[in-house]
């Protein structure tokens, strides 16, 4: 499976090159997330543990699980040597040059986890025939697609977050499962779940897969479940790993009786169905449909204007809003839709697992299903589907086509995160660089097997260029900029939602047709 490394210097070269590039953007724009993390450094450093989840001097309260708070605490020990001012809770929006340098460098160094995880993922890549040219080897392509991923780069190193660090643990756990080291994989996943609870999106995939393939030690000859092979030892050891990590993370707070408070911070359902900028998911399309129907209804005289909620959903506020024509959506409904969307993928894994790759496919499917239907999704969550899909993309032609659609669309939907003029060339250049590479490299990997994209898909992706020109060049110069300022965001969100939904459907179609063909083979 793992290719022999005649000259393995290329991986460190890629890793060092991208790390140096990240350092160039230390002084670029950073979002309020910078202040969020500075505030958390201050809280964890200056206050006792019992106050961590109660502190609200700043509006950016601690809303990640406790393990991340411990991580920030560790960082704050190093921060002391840079600038003590950032560790004072009252120093809101404190951003001295030393603070910026420290925080930016902490992201770059935390990415070492990600680099290690990518290295492990590259060793799991199957190479049918070892290509002579380094640029044509799947492991090289995967390394570039992951290390130089556009979304991760701009979200982490410009917008400012620690996703590289978190995805490192997730990809490491995936790699371990692909290497059939399940307990270790479960350990890494428990850790990442306790670092950022957004990974709950993919927890069902882990749960079903580990139950089916790890706890039930053997299958029947025809591949179906052998109930007798349930191994209590394995089940208990799995449970022990997960529980011990969770206990280490939440334990102190349970002991202090603060669990409800922590949970209320972690799951703030008072925030609306959509973020201020709608993530390109199903609800974006739902909202637009609702808006269109309400406008149509008013025009046709079927609806009373006075009865409609004013400027709902597009005002840029994150409160709960009502839909005008279609039924309003509440958190339980969103949860139900998400679970229903995940169910077929989970069912496929349960019925006929085919090893690590099946699990990975299910993971991607769960991540995308959650992105499509969950409550208050951020557009950055698309990376949770794109990054694991990269591993599948370098091995299968069909997955490569879906990856190109999802990655390009998902990455483009991140553009509104960098709205300053100075950062405009960065996002355009980096997007072009990554997109050009992904198209070219994947096409080379699967050359001779036909084109990866359907012509209509290619037209859609080219349409992204038109959307960009209209939203960032034409519209700001037009008279509607003042009266309808939300239109560029709306257009971006809806256009990308089409692409993401399409990828979601295509992934399912490919999963289910695989099931059908395998069934036919067996008959």
């Amino acid at each position: 499976m793992a290719a022999p490394a005649e000259s393995s210097g290329w991986f460190p070269a890629l890793a060092i090159a991208v790390s140096l590039l990240k350092c160039l953007f230390i002084n670029a724009y950073h979002s309020t997330d910078f202040e969020v993390h500075r505030n958390w450094l201050a809280i964890t450093h200056s206050l006792p543990v019992s106050r961590w989840y109660y502190e609200n001097t700043s509006e950016w309260t601690l809303d990640y699980p406790p393990l991340f708070a411990w991580f920030e605490y560790g960082l704050s020990q190093a921060a002391v040597h840079f600038d003590r001012g950032m560790l004072v809770v009252a120093n809101l929006n404190y951003a001295s040059p030393a603070t910026i340098l420290f925080q930016r460098l902490s992201v770059v160094f935390a990415d070492l986890v990600f680099i290690y995880a990518v290295k492990e993922c590259c060793t799991t890549v199957r190479e049918e025939k070892a290509a002579k040219d380094l640029l044509r080897r799947p492991c090289f392509v995967l390394a570039v697609l992951l290390l130089w991923n556009f979304g991760l780069f701009i979200v982490d190193h410009i917008h400012f977050q620690y996703n590289g660090f978190l995805f490192g643990f997730l990809l490491l756990s995936v790699a371990r499962h692909l290497q059939a080291r399940h307990l270790e994989g479960a350990l890494w996943f428990s850790i990442v779940l306790n670092l950022k609870h957004i990974n709950l999106y993919v927890a069902p995939a882990y749960g079903i897969y580990l139950l089916r393939c790890f706890c039930f030690a053997q299958d029947n000859p025809d591949g179906s479940l052998r109930w007798r092979s349930f191994s209590p030892v394995r089940f208990v050891s799995l449970g022990a790993v997960v529980l011990s990590v969770t206990a280490a993370s939440f334990g102190p707070f349970v002991a202090m009786g603060q669990l409800p408070q922590v949970l209320s911070r972690l799951f703030p359902f008072k925030r609306g169905l959509c973020h201020a900028y709608w993530a390109p998911n199903f609800w974006a399309l739902y909202n637009v449909l609702d808006k269109a129907l309400s406008v149509l209804g008013v025009r046709l005289g079927l609806l009373d204007v006075a009865g409609l909620p004013k400027a709902s959903m597009t005002g840029g506020l994150v409160q709960e809003f009502q839909h005008a024509v279609l039924p309003s959506v509440h958190p339980p409904a969103a949860l139900l839709c998400t679970l229903l969307a995940m169910l077929p993928a989970l069912w496929c894994v349960w019925r006929r697992p085919c090893g690590g790759r099946c699990f990975l496919r299910c993971l991607v499917q769960c991540a995308l299903a959650s992105f499509m239907f969950s409550w208050h999704v951020h557009e950055k969550a698309v990376l949770l589907a794109v990054l694991p899909l990269s591993i599948l993309a370098v091995e299968s032609r069909r997955d490569a086509g879906i990856f190109l659609m999802l990655a390009t669309t998902g990455h483009y939907s991140l553009f509104p995160l960098l709205f300053t003029p100075a950062e405009f060339p960065i996002k355009v250049l980096l997007m072009l660089l990554f997109t050009m590479y992904s198209f070219s490299a994947l096409r080379n990997l699967f050359s001779g097997e036909g084109s990866l994209l359907h012509p209509l898909e290619a037209v859609y992706l080219l349409g992204l260029v038109a959307v960009e020109v209209v939203c960032e060049v034409v519209f700001p110069l037009s008279p509607w900029q003042r009266t309808l300022p939300f239109v560029p965001l709306l257009v971006t969100s809806v256009y990308c939602a089409l692409g993401v939904s399409y990828s979601f459907v295509r992934l399912y179609v490919s999963l289910l047709t695989q099931e059908v063909t395998e069934k036919a083979k067996r008959l």
């Binding site: 230390i26 670029a28 960065i426």
Partner: protein, 423 residues
Amino acid sequence: METFTLVSMSILLGVLVRWGVSFNSYSGAGKPPMFGDYEAQRHWQEVTYNLPIQEWYFNTTDNDLNYWGLDYPPLTAFHSLLCAHVAKLINPEWVKLLGSRGYESPAHKLFMRATVLAADLLVYIPAVVLYCCNLTNGSTNKKVGTLLCILLYPGLILIDYGHFQYNGLSLGLTLWGVLGLGLGWDALGSLAFSLALNYKQMELYHALPFFCYLLGKCARQGLTGRGLFSLVKIAVTVLVTFALCWLPFLSNPEQALQVLRRIFPVARGLFEDKVANAWCSLNVLIKIRSILSSDSQFYLSFTVTLLAITPSSLKLLKTPTFWQFKLALAGLPPAQRSALGGHLLPPGLHVQHVAVATEGRLADALCSDLAGLPRLQHPPAVCAGALHRGPAPAGGLPQAGRVAACMPAPSGPGPHHPPEVLH
């Protein structure tokens, strides 16, 4: 992977790195009263936009030559004028006569950085791409590797996008000249190089190889037949280019002389600050600057420079091949290092000049043609040896990107520090 994709990706990466460096501080940021090169360029926009051409190089009440007076040839002035027109459209405050001194703002910084990028995109990068694709040997991967190395050369990026200058324009024009000569279009190559000379007098370092190569080539073709025709064509091209660039200053001999006085300020002595050349090093042992008079210094350095570059030029005259031309540009043992001879010895030097020398060396180091000849040292290593300087640069330099040791010289201490000389 296709050549087009690889080349495009290299260009994208090169531009990305440039823009990344531009986020950081520039020369003289927040340092009144003189600030730095950034303010110099802004000031030239102000001067060229508001004052008539006759006053650009003269000391008048509106144009204080002590405050970053124009000391580049006319093409720089015209370029500043063009930038000033764009600046005026965006924000007239940026070029307000006397009122915009020391103007600093994020928007202005973005504008100035954008002008550098525009110049690079229009002149330098296309020249590099065409050079690597057409005039280097080897496989596609090797050509793209050369392209990437040249585009990512830190010295030029740090000076142009960090410190703030327009070296990409003059180097780009020179490279167009080299391209023209390499493809056999001598007249166009001469045109490009003449433009480069009229942009920065620093390109004089490369002038002798151009001259000797073209003269030798014409001589080879027969000075009575085709050779003479080529010679006349080239001469006319050069003269017309110079005439067009200097046209506004030719009406009055005093104008032309003043421009010359500004661009060759020999009164300033052998060298300034700390610089990696022979005079500075020699000065440690023998205090030349105090022993010799200003005029003697000038004649001494001129003679020694000429002596140092004569051997390679004579060789080039005798065997005017394109290969020999490239060697003369870059300098290679055993021939005397022409450009470095120029770099090491002439008066009033500044370290930015090494960018000129190493550019040529860099390109040649990667040429597979060099099989059999002593391999050129890796330019950054040469830089590291040559460029060790005194105090670390002031905070005005970018933090990241100190990959190569080719660092620009600091703006220098002292309140009344005159602007950089031949930079």
